[in-house]
Point group: C2
Chain length 95, copies 2
Amino acid sequence: MTIRVVAKNNVKPEKIQEFIGLCKNLVGESLKEEGCIEYGLYQELENSGILTMLEEWKDESSLDKHLNSNHFREIFPLLSEYLEKKTEINVYKKL
Amino acid sequence: MTIRVVAKNNVKPEKIQEFIGLCKNLVGESLKEEGCIEYGLYQELENSGILTMLEEWKDESSLDKHLNSNHFREIFPLLSEYLEKKTEINVYKKL
């Protein structure tokens, strides 16, 4: 069964465009990974500072590899300086 | 462009099974709606009380129709008694 990730970020208003730019690299590299079914950056319709990654992975092992990939380990720590609070990450299985 | 909904529920531990049962009707009816691309109930891997609907709709108009559908208006208010706090709903567009 695939797993789904929702990684929700509250981005500082003045940093939204920079955050989106940095995420583009992360999205592009992640989509090339084996086991990545979906990986996209989404913006809340009513609050442009809520920027969320919606992801789908083949299995937990694929997600673990992603979290240990060079691109994730390089880019994810850089994102934190654009945030008002820590990224809220949930990992789900379908019922 | 399609829109995505993440509706996150924190369910009381003793009410999880009842909540899941009630959601099954909502999922089944919603999937029959025109404009519904995806509608599923997901459970957090590390916290079984976090139960989230992940949805995709053709457009905002389809989502509006869903929110005004009989099945949504009947079932959604019933879910609130199972929750520790109000459902957290975000509606997204892809960047």
